[in-house]
């Protein structure tokens, strides 16, 4: 079986159109980020408490919200109705996310769990421990440190990769590859912002994976370009690039399709905990494949032309 027969698509002539599409997606993301005041950070980075509990029957989020408007813990009064409250996985599970409070009583998370138990006393699992799905509490200092670490991680990965590609290929290729990466991360961030997904530690892991994946794709094409340039020294640069993309197109599509399959399955069946991670990977696989052809290569051509002038 063969999906892709010998193709002779002039990808590079489409670079104006693809550039517009990319710019549009990036701009949409930036506008959304601007309107939302930056990416929506999870408690890993912002600090706070996230509690997910499991009722035995479906519960109404609005009921939970109104109950949480009036919480008394150790004689302190709290109104959590403005907190983020949503179903977690299915309709009988509820997750509440509360920002760090200045005057948090001792064992705060446990007390909130206790309160949530009291909202629907007849919908509590028999085994006490089955009620708690998860509790995550991150202090503000730890959150700030994790943000720093995450930025450092993404940054150092980019630098290391830039160095590697510069050694293995020409510097222009490295620039093309990094531009493609920045493009992918910007668009993924934008999608997260537009669709209201949270950036968590796992999402940062996904970002780095996207970095790896997108490069993988770019490099396969670059490798072909390098090979064809050697074989055919006098050929037109753009033609060689077009030829190389066409030659590796079949591989690009097959690999993208298999990877896409598995990340979609992860998104559909992997459960609530890795929903964000899987979502980032889906966007990353699509955008990463697109960018190797339509972002990395045109930039290499553009830089090559500038060098010639």
């Amino acid at each position: 079986m063969r999906f892709i027969k010998d193709t002779h698509i002039d990808f590079m002539s489409q670079s104006r159109l693809s550039g517009l599409i990319s710019l549009f997606l990036i701009a949409a993301g930036i506008i959304s980020l601007g309107l939302n005041g930056g990416p929506k950070l999870g408690i890993d980075f912002n600090g706070g408490t996230m509690i997910a509990v499991n009722y035995t029957e479906t519960v109404n989020i609005e009921e939970v919200r109104s109950a949480l408007a009036n919480v008394s813990l150790d004689g302190q009064h709290f109104d959590f109705s403005k907190a983020e409250i949503k179903h977690f996985g299915d309709d009988s599970n509820v997750a509440v996310r509360i920002a760090t409070l200045d005057n948090e009583p001792e064992n705060f998370s446990q007390k909130v769990v206790g309160f949530m138990r009291s909202i629907f006393p007849d919908k509590i699992p028999e085994n006490k421990m089955d009620f708690i799905l998860s509790i995550e509490k991150v202090g503000p200092k730890v959150g700030a440190e994790l943000s720093g670490d995450a930025m450092m991680a993404v940054f150092s990965a980019l630098v290391l990769i830039l160095i590697y590609i510069s050694i293995r290929f020409e510097f222009t290729f490295a620039v093309g590859a990094i531009a493609a990466l920045a493009h992918d991360i910007m668009i993924t961030l934008g999608f997260f912002s537009i669709l209201g997904y949270e950036i968590t530690l796992a999402v940062i892991a996904a970002f780095l994976t996207i970095v790896g994946y997108s490069l993988n794709d770019t490099i396969v094409i670059f490798d072909r370009i390098r090979e064809n340039l050697k074989l055919n020294k006098r050929a037109n640069y753009t033609d060689v690039i077009n030829q190389s993309i066409n030659e590796s197109l079949s591989r690009t599509i097959i690999t993208s399709v298999t990877t896409f399959f598995v990340v979609v399955i992860l998104f559909l069946f992997g459960g609530e905990v890795i929903h964000n991670l899987a979502f980032a990977l889906i966007i990353g696989v699509i955008v990463g494949t697109y960018s190797s052809i339509f972002v990395a290569s045109p930039i290499v051509i553009r830089m090559h032309e500038n060098k010639q002038d």
Binding site: G75, S109, E136, G148, A205, T209, Y213
Partner: protein, 631 residues
């Protein structure tokens, strides 16, 4: 079979045999029933088996991950002598600056001392004469303290009985504790966080307490703070909604009980006039010879007692207020708010828990006042016993408060001199609490208090769900890819499929033998590996097809395909390997699991593609003259 290929098959065979051997314990463990596990546990073989299986992360097994940070400012303040306001201010400033990310105590402390010109030897003369000397000593003290904390926590956790706990130092002043399969997070948290500071204080008599409360009320009465309290009564509802607003405490003070005194059990503030006149007293009700505070008013009372002027009155009087450990409810009013006792104690302790030699939890013996109640029996060392005998002997008829972590557990009357150093602590909610207190008293007090700065708990049901969902995703993803490859590349696809399954087995085997932890993101990494590791094969197959189209024979096409594809595969995968390494460096727990799987998945996929698949292809093409290739 081709002779040249025999060594290759031997290598492949050895690796496969090793992988299966490494995975055997996990397979065995997976198929054990609970009963079988129990019998293995009894014979002591379970732990051995468990050490050889693929470890599951807390996110799969369920459990608790806690990061504790030692309160170094408090430790330093405790070590200092002759503390004055200037010193306290320096510590306070450092504390504030410590909230910045990556801030550390000692550089900040040094800076603050330099900028304020604080004379350090004044407070730490026993640690040396110059600032430098003192700093060396203090840093040593902090290191020692954290190491002792580590040891003590280890001790406590061991006695608590959790399988495979990990307790590690992280950075300078932090400790990471991982407890798998914990059933009661609250209990575990208390066990870790409790300083286990046991102190004995004399309780001041009723007249003295009444007097000090009178003086506090005199001070509070008519202050703007209290005026605000009264004035804000009307704006209550509004205030209630502002979480961070300080007046919230006020609104609490005037909770709904105030509107409906009939339900308030006569304990809560009913009388505006009394509140205006005697703010503190109006929130107290007599409980025997002690005062009780309605649980809803505890916060308000604490706020009043934390008023700086009130604090200085209490301090100069040589006393201190402390709440009881347990909430008490009047009989037959279990659904009503309960009360905490408020004690007025001497400010200096008579004896501390360092003298405790043995602490045992049991149920109080019949005949005593604590019959059937959980108690902790203490045995003191000889020095402690002497002091205890002196203290009890000199204060017969008085009450002595037994205080654990700044909470009064009980305050019995001293009936007679206790010469043996034996004593009992009551006031536990249940036997488990008494047991835990026994554990922490035996393990000793923490030299520095610790605060929980990060906490992640995964309940057992979510962990089980994650395993089920993760496994399902892997199986479906794998099946899809396997089927796709066979359809698309026919016979060669079958070879790739073989390599893929081999690949997954090998990754799992490496995880098992490295004692790496499989987490939910790790499972995601495994699925991703499925998708990505097929890539190496795709690159090779596409290349072979291309060479075939150019009219080459299958054998030369295979050779050319593999050799050309090799550099591409390596270049393309190195970047992902770099990303995985960086992730491993940066990540904690679950993320590390992801990075580990990704890293090994990619390395192994390269190996399987260029070695295993190649060998199979070669042996196919070597078998006589090969005219066609199923690709």
């Amino acid at each position: 079979m081709n002779k040249e290929l025999t060594p290759r098959y031997i290598v492949i065979g050895i690796i496969l045999a090793w992988a299966l051997y490494a995975l055997l314990p996990s397979w065995k463990y997976q198929n054990l029933s609970e009963d079988e596990k129990e019998s293995l546990r009894e014979s002591g073989q379970l732990a051995q088996l468990e050490s050889k299986i693929i470890r599951q992360g807390l996110d799969l097994k369920g459990g608790m991950y806690i990061v504790l940070e030692a309160d170094i400012p408090l430790l330093m303040s405790n070590l200092a002598k002759n503390k004055d306001e200037r010193f306290e201010n320096v510590i306070k400033n450092v504390q504030e600056k410590l909230t910045a990310p990556d801030a550390e105590f000692f550089p900040l402390f040094k800076q603050e001392i330099a900028s304020t010109g604080l004379k350090l030897p004044r407070y730490y003369h026993e640690f040396g004469g110059t600032i430098e000397d003192i700093f060396v000593q203090l840093e040593q003290e902090a290191d020692d303290a954290i190491n002792r904390v580590l040891e003590i926590l280890q001790n406590r956790v061991d006695q608590f009985g959790v399988s495979e706990p990990t307790i590690q130092k992280q950075g300078k002043h932090r400790i990471v504790v991982e407890l798998a399969g914990i059933q009661d997070p609250e209990r575990a948290r208390a066990l870790l966080q409790s300083t286990a500071l046991l102190e004995f204080y004399l309780v001041k008599g009723p007249e003295i307490s009444n007097d000090i409360i009178q003086r506090i009320d005199d001070k509070l009465k008519g202050t703007t703070e209290i005026d605000d309290l009264v004035a804000s009564k009307e704006t209550l509802v509004e205030n209630e909604l502002k979480e961070s607003d300080d007046t919230k405490t006020v609104s609490e003070l005037f909770g709904e009980e105030d509107v409906n005194p009939a339900e308030s059990n006569d304990s809560l503030l009913v009388d505006d006039a009394l509140f205006a006149e005697r703010p503190l007293l109006s929130l107290l009700i007599p409980m025997g010879t002690d005062y009780g505070v309605n649980e809803k008013n505890v916060y308000a009372v604490k706020k009043m007692l934390q008023n700086p002027e009130v604090m200085s009155i209490v301090k100069t009087a040589g006393g201190q207020f402390m709440f009881g450990n347990d909430i008490e409810k009047p009989a037959g009013a279990e659904d009503q708010p309960g009360f905490y006792r408020l004690y007025y104690l001497k400010s200096t302790s008579e004896l501390t828990g360092g003298v405790v030699e043995e602490a045992k939890a049991n149920l109080g013996s019949l005949g005593g006042g604590s019959a059937g109640q959980p108690v902790v029996s203490l045995t003191m060392n000889s020095e402690g016993a002497r002091t205890w005998a002196r203290v009890t002997g000199a204060n017969v008829g008085q009450r002595i408060a037994i205080v654990l972590d700044k909470k009064v557990h009980m305050a019995p009357n001293i009936r007679e001199k206790i010469p043996s150093g034996r004593t009992q602590i009551e006031g536990f909610a249940n036997i488990n609490e008494a047991k835990d207190i026994g554990i922490i008293l035996r393990a000793g007090a923490l030299p520095a208090p610790v605060n929980i700065i990060e906490e992640r708990i995964v309940g057992p049901s979510l962990g089980a769900d994650s395993i089920a969902q993760g496994t399902r995703s892997v199986v479906i993803g794998l099946a899809l890819v396997l089927v796709f490859m066979v359809i698309y590349y026919k016979g060669s696809g079958g070879i790739a499929d073989f390599a893929l399954i081999w690949n997954i087995l090998l990754v799992l085997a490496v995880l098992a033998s490295l004692k790496a932890t499989l987490t939910l993101p790790g499972i995601a990494g495994l699925i991703l590996t499925v998708g990505m590791s097929i890539d190496a094969n795709v690159i090779i197959f596409e290349r072979i097809r291309e060479e075939l189209r150019k009219g080459k024979t299958p054998k030369t096409a295979i050779d050319a395909g593999f050799s050309r594809a090799l550099t591409t595969i390596v270049d393309a995968n190195v970047t992902t390997v770099i990303a995985a390494l960086v992730l491993y460096q940066f990540g904690t727990g679950p993320i590390k699991g992801f990075a580990t799987v990704l890293f090994w998945g990619i390395l192994i996929s390269m190996f399987t593609a260029v070695f295993v698949t190649r060998t199979i292809f070669n042996s196919l093409s070597a078998r006589g003259r090969m005219n066609s290739l199923s690709i």
